[in-house]
Amino acid sequence: MAKNSSRSRVATEINASSMADIAFLLLIFFLVTTTIDVDKGILVKLPPWSNEPPPEMKLNSRNVFSVLVNANNDLLVRKKPAELAKLRERAVEFITNPNGAPDLAERPTKAIISLKNDRGTGYETYLTVYNELKAAYNEIWDEEAKALGHPGYSDDLPLEVRRQIKLKIPMVLSEAEPTAFGDEK
């Protein structure tokens, strides 16, 4: 008996030559099913639904930055045709109002960006416009973060700092119900 068990401890090695084949097989399977591109997108918090019409609010027109996108994908900013490429710059100027102009926002906390589109507006245009408006806020938050001695605004900043920045410059982007122009039948 003793002799027998000592022989099994010396033990024949497991033949591992097929290991590579098995691993290859699995590797090829995962290679084929892999989609490396990570899911990214613009994170949005929608307003809760309410059946009552929103209360009429008296707003000083200097504090409202209205953006309209029509069914032809044309842009109307503060009642004047505008270019998409200048939107971000103008939004930043509107919110911060560095020179205290009388027709731009009184204070960043009072600034409201209002976005309205038609049902026929292209999604690509809509998303680009939304992206530019969000970029404007990100740019301002970035400046704020730098002023507070951080490398820049990102999700890596402590929650407390982010909250402080957002309290100073809250993002108010109100989306109106779209008009029915240009809807697909």
Binding site: A20, A23, F30, T33, K40, L43, K45, L46, G122, N138
Partner: protein, 146 residues
């Protein structure tokens, strides 16, 4: 000439295997609509795939146009659906998520760039009615200026 030792080959292959296993995202459903999401710059990465449900909007692919037509439709899970299927879809997804994590459920809306806002707006309205307010408009990274 002595044969090259292949003893370390399995180890190398295993290393590759583990790499691909970790980065793999299984394709969860076959797409029946054509979706090419627009480009944007202010992107957030979707965290925790188990808390994300996907809504696709686009024109049906050539294979499906005979059945579903050519106007934009939405796809929930693996089938083409209507707006009023959304509540059930969200409810079913919620049921599979532990209760403490439910407030963090995100809807990833993957919309083709050529679709008009009408159908997107209807989906948004329905999501708001259902209290599903965390939404991610899927987009690709834009590299050049506007």
């Amino acid at each position: 000439m002595p044969a090259i030792s292949t003893a370390s080959l399995p180890d190398i292959i295993f290393m590759l295997l583990f790499f691909f296993m970790v980065v793999t995202v299984m394709r969860e459903s076959e797409l029946k609509v054509k979706v090419l999401v627009p480009e944007a710059t202010e992107l957030t990465k979707l965290e925790q795939k188990s808390l994300v449900n996907y809504i696709y909007i686009g024109k049906p692919t050539a294979k499906n146009q005979g059945v579903y037509g050519t106007s934009p439709r939405l796809q929930l899970g693996d089938k083409i659906s209507n707006i009023n299927d959304i509540p059930l879809f969200l409810e079913q997804f919620k049921a599979g998520v532990p209760e403490v994590q439910r407030p963090r459920i995100t809807s990833s809306i993957r919309v083709d760039g050529d679709v008009t806002m009408g159908i997107v707006q209807d989906v948004k309205t329905e999501l708001r009615k259902q209290g599903q307010l965390r939404v991610n408009y899927s987009a690709r990274q834009r590299t050049e200026d506007l």
